[in-house]
Amino acid sequence: MRFFREDLHALTGAYALDALDGAERDRFSRHLRRCQSCANEVRGLRETATRLAMAVALVPPPELREKVLAAVAWTRQLPPETEDAAARRSRAAHGSPGRPPSRFGTPRLAWFPRPASLLAAAALAVVVVLSVTQAMTQRELNHSRAQNQAVEAVLSAPDARLLTHRIVAGGRAIVVLSQARHALVLTTSGLPPLPAAKVYEVWFMAPGRSKPAGLLSPPTAGRTAPLLAAGLTAGDRIGLTVEPAGGTSKPTTPPILVMSLPA
């Protein structure tokens, strides 16, 4: 087996660069648990790879900072992993070979988080928090239940994405978008309250036309209830304007938010 082990050992470099695929990566991960010298080498090579990353640093779009910080405010953190849980998981992983939840979900790498369900968690936090803050009558509640189901359909869509954007008038828009369902859920925080004769109207905007996408409820505790906007077409942007109560069919004021949506 000596040859085999040396052969495996040569994979430290490819492993450190994430250049192993599927089965080979899993096999090497298992090998790492037994081979301390391999684990040490991988660690050093990963630190080396980090230098390669630093060498290609690039300034991201400035609005990204705002988006990330807004999303952070809505995202619950994972609790620390206790030693017991870590050990249990490691044992379970030994016993059941066939449950990799993500490409990189090898048990050895519990240290690295898995990509799955982040968006769902963040998105759900938005809706749950916002729904609860709304005081409702029974009629509103019934309506809201139907609305919630539609909202949930967007949130649970496999392609659902969480996006945030600053609103010119103040506050932020938080959008969960599903292009597959041609719909999105929009909530806002920090929007200034409007006089009773005015309303915030949401639009699907494309060059040369704007389609009404719904009216925001008046903010409660600085937040508006989730608005389901359906009928999105490819290339649409989201717009927000202040309009006379009841809304209009075309925007009559300059938008305080224009947000482009990823395809």
Partner: protein, 199 residues
């Protein structure tokens, strides 16, 4: 120092050491829900994270999206960072690289990449000036890369920046699998020693 020691110890004053130690300290504070610590982490790491993801994915809109996911993931999973297993920056860059690779290797992203290569998305993201941040050690990295053999350099570049598996790299370079595997490893070891990485 074990993970347990770190968890029970008081934060204490911010350590005066270099950037990397500072980042470890910040990430431990992020794990406690400290949003201002997270802002500091963002400011230190958004450029390398975005730069690496752009390098791998190329498409600006997708790269921005993945960068956002990665940084949010850092916030969400900060409590899982274990300084005994590596530096905080490597923890973050590993998440970033894997996320980018996940995109590249999923078939749907592949078609998306192809579709998007011809068209430009509307919006502000593509208007962003692409400025490579001048870092002191970037020059050193390049110098060390120059000290590698061509095959080492190409293999490492295609694997890390290109997001290819070493089998794909072997195909691209028309070399034997075993050769590419070893060139990646010995090239990286040479880089490590050239840059004085101590882990």
């Amino acid at each position: 120092m074990s993970r347990r020691d770190l968890r029970v110890s008081e934060p204490g004053p911010r350590p005066p050491q270099g950037r990397d130690e500072d980042l470890d300290w910040l990430v431990r504070h992020v794990a406690r829900g400290d949003e201002s610590a997270f802002e500091a982490v963002y400011d230190q790491l958004c450029r390398p994270v975005y730069g690496l993801i752009r390098k791998v994915l190329r498409d600006p809109a997708q790269s921005e999206e993945v960068t956002q996911e990665v940084l949010l993931e850092v916030w969400r999973t900060a409590s899982r960072f274990d300084p005994a297993k590596g530096s905080a920056i490597t923890w973050v860059m590993t998440i970033a690289h894997r996320r980018a690779i996940d995109r590249v290797r999923s078939a749907s992203a592949q078609t998306l990449r192809e579709q998007k290569s011809g068209s430009v998305l509307a919006g502000s993201t593509e208007e962003v000036a692409e400025v490579v941040e001048a870092r002191l050690d970037a020059e050193r990295v390049r110098r060390c890369l120059d000290s590698l053999t061509e095959l080492q350099r190409e293999s490492i570049g295609l694997a890390y920046y290109g997001g290819y598996t070493y089998q794909q790299v072997a195909g691209l370079l028309d070399s034997a699998l075993g050769t590419v595997k070893t060139r990646i490893r010995d090239g990286l070891i040479r880089m490590r020693d050239c840059m004085g990485v101590t882990w």
